[in-house]
């Protein structure tokens, strides 16, 4: 499934764009000009990685300092313990698209139970 996100010209380096699908996905434009897409929700708690601290090819969760590698989705250290999914990014005619992974996402307990219809 390929979903349009935003125009490349509208996403400066060092910034992120959150795609409000379920679960949300964020596209990061690194300072070196590379584009990466990962699940937006930290695997530890309900926090948006698009709000996080982007440095090189890593984004640090805005809340609790776990860092995710944008290339692999791997997490460096707790409190988050599971990786985020990575998604393929395609730019066509100046438009950024995300090809959403078909793997199961690693959502934090509160979000996972909400999506499952339970109470958070």
């Amino acid at each position: 499934m390929k979903i349009p996100a935003c125009r490349l010209a509208d996403l400066p380096r060092g910034e992120a764009f959150r795609l409000d699908i379920d679960p949300p996905v964020s596209v990061f434009h690194t300072d070196d000009g590379e584009l990466f897409a990962i699940d937006d929700t930290c695997t530890h708690q309900d926090a948006s990685l698009a709000d996080g601290w982007l440095e090189g090819c890593e984004v640090e969760c805005p809340l609790h300092a776990s860092k995710f590698d944008l290339r692999t989705g791997a997490v460096d250290a707790p409190p988050a313990k599971l990786p985020v999914r990575t998604h393929e990014v395609v730019v066509e005619d100046g438009m950024i698209h995300v090809r959403v992974s078909t793997d199961a996402p690693n959502l934090p307990p509160c979000v996972a139970s909400r999506l499952a219809g339970g109470t958070a």
């Binding site: 926090a47 948006s48 698009a50 709000d51 996080g52 601290w53 805005p62 809340l63 609790h64 300092a65 250290a77 707790p78 409190p79 313990k81 307990p109 509160c110 958070a120």
Partner: protein, 382 residues
């Protein structure tokens, strides 16, 4: 490694990451494997997170360490370079990381009275969670972060909650009086009583607590009391060891202590802060997570590395559904201004300045802007 919580675990990880492949012994006075403490006053207390969720180690993580848990360190013998344990054993060491943390302060005379709690450990949290589940009237002594988070959790569980704070404004130390007043306004927003500027004289009750007695003569009925009046560094075991003690273990800007081959990290460590030009004992999760890297580099290099400037201290709190984040030092500020949002909406980004330069930032439900300011603060003061 003496201490098996976040700072000790982070130091063990740093040692392996930085190439140390020798014997590694982790000594901890609690029986539990390393666990995450912040949820103890929030999700764990509310029952939305279980004990397995608190584990700090990944499932397949193996640091190749020997874990001596449920064993308290009672002394450090400098001549023998050995850590003495409460069970009589001794562990000889070539290098030592002190990460013994801090212990909750208690109310004098409250021992043995049922219904009176502190909150620091998993065992504390289990006991309090079970009691909160029965409902009733809760009095929280201390309007700091632990007290406020417990009040917020208990309010959500449906308890009748009163917070008693001896200072005129809660959180004035970490946040300054202005923002301390705004953040602690969250209690009143939710109908939780906040009594400020009044001390606690004592507790009443035979076997169980039944009231909190205030200095002004009032008596506040209580079924459960939580004492949240701060923590003291656990460093008694180091007295006479040659490690210099001054509000915890006195450390350089890289965690080094007065003894060669000994570093200290986490809540027990009073690090020199080059930004502030003073020693500061930082009791934040983030410090316990980040600083061991520098301390371990110092330990492995025999003190030959030049310490970098750490990022400004950062902490967070979740109260009444509001996400509170703070970075920097409020103490040095001469002004604080709201840059975004409105205080009445509890949706605010406030910047603290000293002589016009930003020295700290506070966010309430402003994670994106907060991260920007936090980065800027780190860049401008490094």
């Amino acid at each position: 490694m003496v201490g098996a919580s976040l700072a000790g675990l982070s130091a063990a990880r740093s040692l392996r990451k930085q190439g140390y492949d020798g014997r590694l012994v982790v000594i901890g006075d609690e029986l539990h494997r390393p666990y995450d403490r912040p949820p103890l006053s929030k999700e764990f207390l509310a029952g939305t997170l279980g004990e397995a969720d608190l584990a700090l180690e990944a499932q397949d993580e193996d640091l190749g360490a020997q874990w001596l848990l449920g064993t308290r360190a009672t002394g450090l013998d400098r001549a023998d370079r050995a850590v003495r344990l409460a069970d009589g054993r001794e562990v000889r060491v070539d290098g030592l990381v002190i990460a013994t943390g801090a212990a909750a302060r208690r109310l004098p005379g409250s021992d043995g009275l049922a219904g009176v709690h502190v909150l620091r450990t998993l065992d504390d949290a289990r006991a309090l969670r079970d009691e909160l589940a029965r409902g009733g009237r809760l009095v929280v002594i201390g309007g700091g972060f632990i007290g406020a988070e417990v009040a917020s959790t208990a309010y959500a569980l449906g308890l009748d909650v009163t917070v008693v704070e001896v200072a005129p404004t809660p959180l004035a130390g970490p946040l300054g009086a202005t923002m301390g007043g705004i953040v602690s306004g969250l209690h009143a927003d939710h109908g939780v009583r906040l009594l400020c500027g009044v001390g606690v004289k004592g507790l009443s009750g035979e076997r169980c607590v039944d009231a909190v007695l205030l200095e002004d003569g009032r008596s506040i009925p209580a079924d459960i009391v939580v004492v949240g009046v701060g923590a003291r560094p656990c460093v008694e075991w180091l007295e006479g060891s040659g490690v210099e003690l001054d509000n915890g273990v006195k450390c350089g800007a890289d965690g080094r202590t007065a003894l060669a081959g000994v570093v200290a990290v986490g809540d027990c460590a009073n690090w020199y802060d080059p930004r502030a030009g003073a020693h500061r004992r930082v009791e934040h999760w983030t410090g316990a997570r980040e600083r061991p890297d520098a301390a371990v580099a110092t330990l492995l290099a025999g003190g030959a590395v030049v310490p970098g400037v750490p990022r400004p201290p950062y902490f967070w709190s979740d109260q009444y559904g509001v996400r509170i984040q703070f970075a920097g030092h409020a103490a040095g500020a001469d002004s604080v201004s709201v840059e975004e949002g409105a205080v009445d909406d509890r949706n605010v980004l406030a910047v603290y300045r000293r002589a016009g330069d930003p020295v700290a930032v506070l966010g309430m439900n402003q994670p994106r802007l907060f991260t920007r300011w936090r980065k800027q603060l780190a860049a401008s003061t490094s």
